[in-house]
Point group: C2
Chain length 249, copies 2
Amino acid sequence: MARSTSGESVLERVVRILEAFTPSDRALTVGEVSRRAGLPAATGSRMVAEMVAHGLLTRDADRRVRVGTRLWELASRASPTLSLRELAMPVLEELHALVGHHAQLGVLDGEQVLFVERLSAEQAVINYTRIAARLPLHASSSGLVLLAHAPPELQERVLAGPLARFTPSTPTDPGELRRRLATIRRDGFVVCCGYLHPEATGIAVPVRDEHRQVAAAVSVIVPNDELARDRVAPLAAAARRIEQRLAAH
Amino acid sequence: MARSTSGESVLERVVRILEAFTPSDRALTVGEVSRRAGLPAATGSRMVAEMVAHGLLTRDADRRVRVGTRLWELASRASPTLSLRELAMPVLEELHALVGHHAQLGVLDGEQVLFVERLSAEQAVINYTRIAARLPLHASSSGLVLLAHAPPELQERVLAGPLARFTPSTPTDPGELRRRLATIRRDGFVVCCGYLHPEATGIAVPVRDEHRQVAAAVSVIVPNDELARDRVAPLAAAARRIEQRLAAH
């Protein structure tokens, strides 16, 4: 592929430009894009212009730049992620109507859980997840379920740390986490009270594909109270229904 | 931006490679990708390899290629489209629970309606929409609502045709369509019986942003029977609630 004099490919620059945009910085000036992507101003400006011409980025009336609808369309219409999400959606809606608060679907990507769907009630308990957001594997209920069924090499790499602490309850001891993963494999669910926020409990169960491999985690985030454990049964039932839909697909 | 000897930019080729994947062709061999993108086999193979290295594409165990989770993440996490969709989602869920069948959210993109969300009941009436799919403006309820509030130049370009016919009921007469658009602006909704399929009725209403510009259309697809019109009132109420959420954001 064509390379600049610095030996960097055009594609690397395109990816770095896209990485400049985040949920909290959805609109940036061309200068901000160039700076965040580590590109000279002229290069950044030229690349943004071409990306706008192809609909990968769009320019606002105030000249600020955003991620383009065309990019979202190209990334979504044939995405395996979206296909899983579409199959799971009717079940996730019913789960959400039953449990309230947040219901979400996450997949393992690299060493994190990537959330491909989140349904939230308007007055729900606090939650750090967004669609297309990530959380560390050791500190979230979805992440622990995915880690429990991940290849041993990945488990060891994650347990070797660093293991960030978000609250006094976040598990950060590798030995304790290793025992926890075994318990999750035995029980088929995990309840995480206050790992990311003192007032929120995450509950997650695995979703298996037709080869019985864990393909995703379905989870709910509820208030950290004595009712939390009552949500395990409806969550497990939802996971079974998503599995039936995956198998029938 | 770097160009090949044919004068074509790398970005053009990346876009054409992404365009090779569709909802019905989610996994392709490298040869199929190159052919669809109009690239020499060696070029296609080299570009696919680099896109895989950056996570924009992924390779299956059987060596077939798919759109990558990383691309979906980059396109989604800061997308204005997804932001609108997230704000609308709690309302869309309630509308869907009330009306059943399909509830969807569409935006104007180019000369088509692009659907950014669709919620479907498991036993719903037939519907051609998918998430990230498009429909022509003149033949769908969402499209007609968006066209009715589009700039006059776009209206004239669409009415100048071609205007595809899907069923004997699809409106394809420019004069009739022009009168129809005026009626939609006056009434604030449209009911389309059998325009895309004889058994399905689409009903759509506009969603306005804080500047009172039409930003999207919310619609339901229901069976083509005498109850269809009863859905106009809950649909209009849903649009008002989405507008309140947009304004509060």
